[in-house]
């Protein structure tokens, strides 16, 4: 007879959430990826540096990045050009198909009057993915009924896994769609959901067997564990396959959860305003210009996070720089940085799916070789902090 939950014992998934909600999300992603018999194409319209992308790549999927339309709407050509340099395709997912031409304004006073226009094709899943051989998983930054309605043929042919953020207003429609199409609508704890009080990350699972497999990987039936277990012991005890297998997916999952952090490759970091990557063979860095740099880091779940930035150097002529860090429009800190400074900023994400838009801007800049430079960034890390 298994012990009942008590103050000393809890289901492991509940315990891992106590460390941070994002841990449970990572486990769910890893479990579903491992549940595929053959993992084919994965399509994401999140920013390229999302956890889904990292884990899908580790699992050996063919990952394609699609354009995040809300960010395109907000930032236009700046975002599109940066995203394309990170391998994002100029295609966005939608319920109605249109071609969006993004062009500079004509009024003197705007920068970039002579930039070339870009076209983003908004396509239904069926038309964009027709002819594909093995579509395994599609990740939406915002999952709405119209996107699913445009995936009739895809569902018939491939029955892919879907996931993404669903708002309370959309959950009923999506739930009905799942019933009609034989999908299981679950949260990251693999519980059935009919409604959500706030936006939440949800999974649309195509088959019962996949759901059961994921269930097994998540150790849902494995019993309770001691609440006092440290994190490493907890993950060793509770998810031996997910985190202990000898493959890249397990190693990546373990790395994320055991270290409670993720970090970002500078060359594939979707941003606005960072200069091209530079290196001395050992170190890599990117300069911030006069207007600073804007980074987009998906936070994936609610909870406390710590964002850390390592500033490698300052422009010649500067001994220090007064740096301001904004996150989602709030001035978080004003900090005097020098070469080698690591700046950490705490941030509380209120709901799942929040993307931290970080603006780093320096009060000081120097004009060097035809452009304004202030400081260079060499490392960006996101840690999830105990609740």
């Amino acid at each position: 007879m298994l012990p009942s939950p008590s103050i000393n014992f809890s289901p492991p998934i509940e315990l891992i959430r106590d460390f941070h909600n994002v841990n449970a999300e990572i486990l769910a992603i890893s479990a579903f990826l491992r549940s595929f018999i053959t993992l084919g194409d994965v399509f994401l319209d999140t920013v390229p540096q999302s956890l889904e992308a990292k884990l899908a790549n580790a699992a050996g999927a063919r990952v394609s990045y699609l354009m995040n339309q809300p960010l395109c709407d907000h930032y236009g050509l700046d975002y599109i050009q940066s995203a394309k340099s990170c391998g994002v395709l100029p295609v966005a997912l939608g319920g109605n198909e249109i071609d969006i031409n993004v062009e500079p304004r004509v009024e003197a006073g705007f920068e970039g009057l002579a930039e070339n226009a870009e076209t983003i094709k908004v396509r239904k899943l069926d038309s964009y993915l027709s002819g594909r051989v093995n579509v395994s998983w599609t990740v939406f930054s915002q999952l709405t009924l119209d996107k699913l309605t445009g995936a009739k043929e895809l569902v018939q042919t491939h029955r892919p896994l879907f996931s993404g953020i669903i708002s309370p207003e959309c959950i009923l429609d999506v739930s009905e769609w799942c019933i009609t199409n034989g999908y299981h609508l679950v949260d990251s704890d693999l519980q059935d959901i009919q409604s959500v009080p706030v936006s939440a990350y949800c999974w649309l699972v195509p088959t019962k067997s996949m759901l059961q497999q994921a269930y097994r990987y998540l150790g849902k039936d494995s019993g309770l564990v001691k609440r006092s277990l440290p994190l490493v012991r907890l993950i060793q005890q509770s998810w031996p396959e997910l985190l202990g297998a000898n493959d890249n997916l397990a190693k990546k999952t373990y790395d994320l959860i055991a270290n409670q952090r993720t970090w970002y490759y500078l060359d594939s970091l979707a941003n606005i305003g960072l200069d091209s990557i530079e290196t001395d063979g050992e170190n890599y860095w990117r300069w911030l210009g006069k207007n600073g740099a804007r980074l987009f880091l998906p936070l994936h779940s609610e909870g406390y996070f710590r964002l850390s930035f390592n500033f490698f150097s300052l422009a010649s002529g500067l001994s220090h720089a007064t740096l301001r860090c904004f996150i989602n429009g709030r001035l978080m800190t004003t900090y005097m940085i020098e070469e080698g400074t690591e700046l950490s900023v705490s941030y509380f994400a209120r709901e799942a799916g929040e993307v931290a838009e970080i603006l780093l801007v320096s009060e000081e800049a120097c004009y060097i070789d035809g452009k304004f430079l202030s400081c260079s960034l060499s490392e960006v890390t996101l840690q999830w902090v105990d609740s």
Partner: protein, 626 residues
Amino acid sequence: MTNIPSEVVVFCPLPPKPNGIADYFVEQIPYFCRTTKVTVVIENMHPEPEGIAPNVNILRLEEYLWQQAELASVPHIYHVGNNPDTQYMLPVLLSKPGLVVVHDLNLHYLIDLTNLSQGDKLGYQHALTNNYGSAGTTLGKQLDTLGWKGRFMPHELMMNASIITAAERILVHSQYSAEKILALGHKNVCVVPHHFSPASRKYQPKLKMQYRGEFGLPGNKPVITSMGFIAKAKQIKSVLSALAAIKRSGVDFTYVLAGQCKPHEYDVYQDIADSGLQDNVIVTGFLDEDAFFKYMLSSDFIVNLRYPTGGESSGTLTRAMGMGLCCVVVNIGPFGELPDDCAVKLDWGEEFDDNLYTALDKLIRDKVYRVSLGKNAQKWIERTHNIATTTTAYLEEANKLSHSQQLEKRSFKYRQYRFLPEYDVRKWRQTHSIDTEKNNLWWEANLLPIGESKVLSISDENEYNAEIITSLFGYETPQVDSLATSLLRGYNAKAKYPLILVDVLLSDISAEPVLWLSKLNEVAELGAKLVISFRVQADIYSDYSIDRSSLSEMIEAAGFSVEKAIAGPLDIDMNNNERTNNEYWVYSAKKRSSMVNLNPPIYKNGMSELKWMYDSQRDSGGENVA
């Protein structure tokens, strides 16, 4: 007070930024706060503001962009000047109409900072196009090719049209500036004098000698001062030349240049050396506020010349006159509006240098004369430049603003145009019966954007075109205004269109093509898309060359830029040799400027004739008349 808003958002730099506009506005803040909640928006990298009352809400631009929804209905005031410190507000100013306080009439340098200063020559060319139409494009290309920019002063080329036309209301400090803006077609212009600084009350004219002692200025010689940033336009060289002549006549003096100089822009030291007045001239460098006022009151009179003028008012001049100092100015622009008995006003011309010598000589020798002028000036300033009165005028103007639209984005420098996918157009063609005798090229080429608020269709086949606009491109019938071709010339649109479709015979425009096309400029918004289709008949007579490339140039002369040009029909049957009777030329264009050139080079008919098509009444919105 019902004509004062309860809240305002003000875009303006603040101290410690060394900027006259910052100093100016910070003096107004306490008066604003008596009746109105003030939110000030500063740039993201602005140093920590100093000396601002805690009840003033200060937001950095990034914070403002995320809080736009809460502030959408609050009147916005923009303090714009020709310097880098006001560059940050331009995207918001150009997107959310408000009250624009134009401190400098010519904003050429400010515009330059957004393109040429960053190495963006093509962007600078587009900026010139926006101001001057196709003539601006030509100028931009020549500047790029021939590198002439360094040889003429930016003041000689006015650049402010985009900012003026974006404003819902404008506030300036002189009638001169008001008239220049009214000439651009903006009707809502208000003149509010530059207030007299309350900070000056701390300083006593009777302590003149004490102030001189503090700075080591002589107590036994006249002290003449030119205040503020040392620039070429201040005609320092002429002053030095006149003073050198006065010195040769046996009069001794000290001439103070009380301000910052940038020798790489204007080498004043060379001019001082050339004049031989090294022993008489002091260059102070940048002065803080305290030193500024004390140097001013140490003076016997002020020389505040400005030529050419950018239309800017001089805060320094207001302070000097308000403190009872006699001032010498060039009788031009805002300075020409000073009462004749309050300042020495010299006409610019061949005799300027002689007149300057005479004026300075008289002011040095005749104390009664200069004191009397100074007293007149002081009384005039007290009467007309009271800060409580001027700030009330600001708020009353702000209260008249009506724009409350929320901006939905966080970057405003782009615009989206939506189009159908090609296959939607093909599919529609297959499922609808098409009249092959009509013009189908414009829609088959998929040049018409979808989702705009209004469409103006100009054609003698409006019924057919309207059917396509609604059925294929998804517009609702009330969104489409139709106009017969012959009615365009006399069309009096109350508001402008974001999208215009023109389907006409080439002969309809052949008599005066650019004049005809300029009418389209009159009815199009800035940035509007134009799809213009010409049916080409055989044997058209025109005084002008109306081939395909010439038409492109004419469309550009009318203030548009041609983006695509297509000739067709597209559905010629390649399996037979039947000649088609219908040839069409379709141009897709975008309106870049309200300036048209009614006599473009393509006419080969002499000088250009530029005409400005903007009218603020029409551009501010209203009902269109079908």
